[in-house]
Symmetry: C2
Subunit: 415 residues, 2 copies
């Protein structure tokens, strides 16, 4: 009996990821700034005003004209006349320094007109009510932040595609941008298949087991910035599965169907995806271990994944394929987006040429700042305990036969 | 004039972090499993049953007694009699294999009694309705996952202090643990101080600027797993600030007050904290740059931070001190919890002995797998644009005078 995979060639990871270029990032939506952490700008942000809006002191001291302090020292102090004090949070522009004049100022205060520096209080000495002696000169701009020094009016503050970290959110806050245009988060429908599954909250009758992938995939999706939409469990019934998938795709941008790891199941998933209106098969099988029996299809800009059932296989395929696509939909590059760490192999890691392998590894710190040791956590891909013991994945490229012991490698860390 | 800091010694970062040992992790609460991603177990989880609950096939094929296949080959096939087929999701225990018998089984199916291995369909050949020829022997346990192979009944599945990643959530799901005891998330009250501040959504009148720290600190807190509680802006009024802080501490576990970066303001924050009922000052100033004028106090198990006003200083102190404490409260170690990356300095990084310095750096990838180049993004600590350009922080220990050019260093990555 020929399998469907005989008709659809298996794709390598780069070939599969290159398919993502046919998709487009999701549309823009306006989101309150306080809710926008981690989101990606869909439009450039241009500063409508100067930040800061006026020149500010960064010290407690005296606003001066810097030239009045040139050449002064502890032996030959410069004397300035204090003409006022700048109250915090009020405009100081009514004050204008003439040569030889100064104004008392606190950190954050607005510089008076014609002041161009601040002398810090620690290098001053009051002589009388009106006169202060300065023992160290300041240059123009010293101990102040000039109006627009952070961002001038009309400056490009943040580019399209910028991920909003706390500092970017701070800038937007400073400019009064309290609502931001960001790419919509991908909505990901999750469906576990198999007559043997019951929901986690049920006690399985004989021959059945609890659904695990719905939980792990939802957590993986949310960690990657997507919105997980639970569609529960679907038995091995063609009409029902087709109806559930078609319905799920009305609302979702991505469908993750898990469970089709055996040959029969894989063909079944393929048949269901093929029968979905306007769906187009992209790949049937990927040259990755674990996770070979992965199916990728599209329906317009929506993507459909047939993921293997075993937990480790589903997780590897999620990190290698689904996560880059979710990032791409969100406005970032189609990259893994995982931190990696240099490590030394604690043992040989044999692998076969022609398929990319992802080995679960545990990292043990070493003394003296040396890279940690990476030890394989082997185990059947249907087991969860090796994943629980693992800190990350060691990728072994399809063109090499693995790594020897004591080799420096790069390990992808689980987030 | 003597400052308060003359009476309270400045603490080094390790001294400050060691103060956290006086605090205790927050109490346990039950949370639905689907909401528990990233949370930390407050109790050990013991398996109440076997996972998987029965021995399962990991292949499509025939359940057999392995001994019946010993010695077989393509030339000398072993013949077995098929006595039935195991329907997915039904108990197979009514079937019991006698020597020489087999049962058709699909991936995930329950093994019949006395079966101890599965022969995959690819190495079999049907001879008639009842007889199958096997051309490759299997060992006991081959192509199956045994009952309890992942977790035996009574096994410690996850220890107290485990952070729940997708795989840990999967295990709990598989065991039917749909509600989990985790440490409460720290509630963090955020208060910006200063007469010059207006909320981000307002247009500042002359002499005033928009509040930035409320936004950045809330984002930093939520990224670290805390719950940010906005308390807005408080002017430089002792009675009012004392009332706001005291009230905030009723609900919050941590109070972050920002703005006290000048000498006067710092003493003011100190006075407010000292006047809070049952508050105890822990440190007044830390030997870190930027961020020296940081104040830490406690009220029972609650902590109070007086953070510097400039954005970069507040962020450095957050990462060095607040984030480790939030992690500690959440049940993790009092560690930074930031990813780090090896990089090569693109320039000299001078620093003074006696204080720990955190330099904002930008990383540029290099060809040939070499570590990225780290370039300093210098700029006044009150500016946000250097933080926007930066990828992380290069820590320079208090005992060294900095780094030369071309030196390999470890850079803390912004999350």
């Amino acid at each position: 009996m020929k399998s469907m995979s005989d008709f659809f060639p298996m794709k390598s990871p780069p070939e599969s990821v290159s398919l993502f270029a046919e998709f487009i990032p999701l549309a823009s939506e306006m989101v309150p700034l306080s809710m926008a952490r981690g989101r990606v700008l869909a439009e450039e942000i241009v500063s409508g005003e100067a930040l800061p809006p006026f020149s500010r002191s960064t010290m407690d001291g005296y606003a001066v004209r810097a030239a009045d302090t040139y050449g002064c020292s502890g032996l030959e102090e410069a004397l300035v006349t204090v003409i006022g004090e700048i109250a915090m949070g009020t405009s100081s522009q009514a004050l204008c320094l003439q040569p030889g004049q100064a104004a008392r100022i606190a950190t954050g205060g607005e510089l008076p007109a014609m002041a161009d520096a601040v002398v810090m209080v620690e290098v001053t000495r009051p002589l009388d009510n009106k006169t202060v002696a300065v023992s160290r000169p300041v240059a123009p701009g010293e101990n102040i932040i000039r109006a627009g020094e952070d961002y001038a009016p009309g400056a490009v503050v943040l580019r399209r595609g910028s991920r909003l970290r706390p500092q970017e959110m701070g800038v937007l806050s400073g400019l009064g941008v309290v609502s931001v245009p960001v790419h919509r988060r991908p909505r990901v429908a999750i469906l576990s298949t198999g007559d043997e599954l019951v929901p986690a909250e049920q006690t399985p009758p004989p021959g059945k087991i609890r659904d695990i992938n719905s939980t792990t995939l939802a957590a993986l999706v949310e960690e990657a910035g997507g919105i997980a939409i639970a569609h529960g469990i679907c038995g091995d019934d063609f009409e029902n599965m087709l109806a559930v998938c078609t319905e799920a795709l009305v609302e979702a941008d991505v469908l993750l169907l898990s469970g089709g790891s055996s040959r029969g199941r894989r063909d079944f998933t393929h048949q269901v995806f093929s029968a979905i209106p306007h769906a187009q098969m992209l790949t049937h099988g990927v040259s990755v271990r674990p996770g070979k029996p992965t199916i990728l299809a599209r329906q317009g800009n929506k993507s459909l994944f047939g993921l293997p059932g075993p937990a480790a296989s589903a997780m590897v395929i999620f990190y290698c394929f689904v996560r880059p696509l979710l990032r791409y939909y969100s406005g970032l590059g189609a990259t893994l987006g995982l931190s990696s760490i240099r490590a030394t192999t604690a043992q040989p890691f044999p692998s076969a040429i022609g398929r990319e392998e992802y080995v679960r590894v545990q990292l043990s710190p070493q003394d003296g700042g040396a890279p940690p040791l990476a030890t394989a956590v082997y185990g059947k891909s249907g087991l969860l305990s090796p994943l629980v013991r693992a800190d990350g994945l060691l990728p072994i490229g399809c063109e090499i036969e693995g790594f020897g012991r004591g080799v420096e490698v790069s390990v992808l860390l689980f987030p």
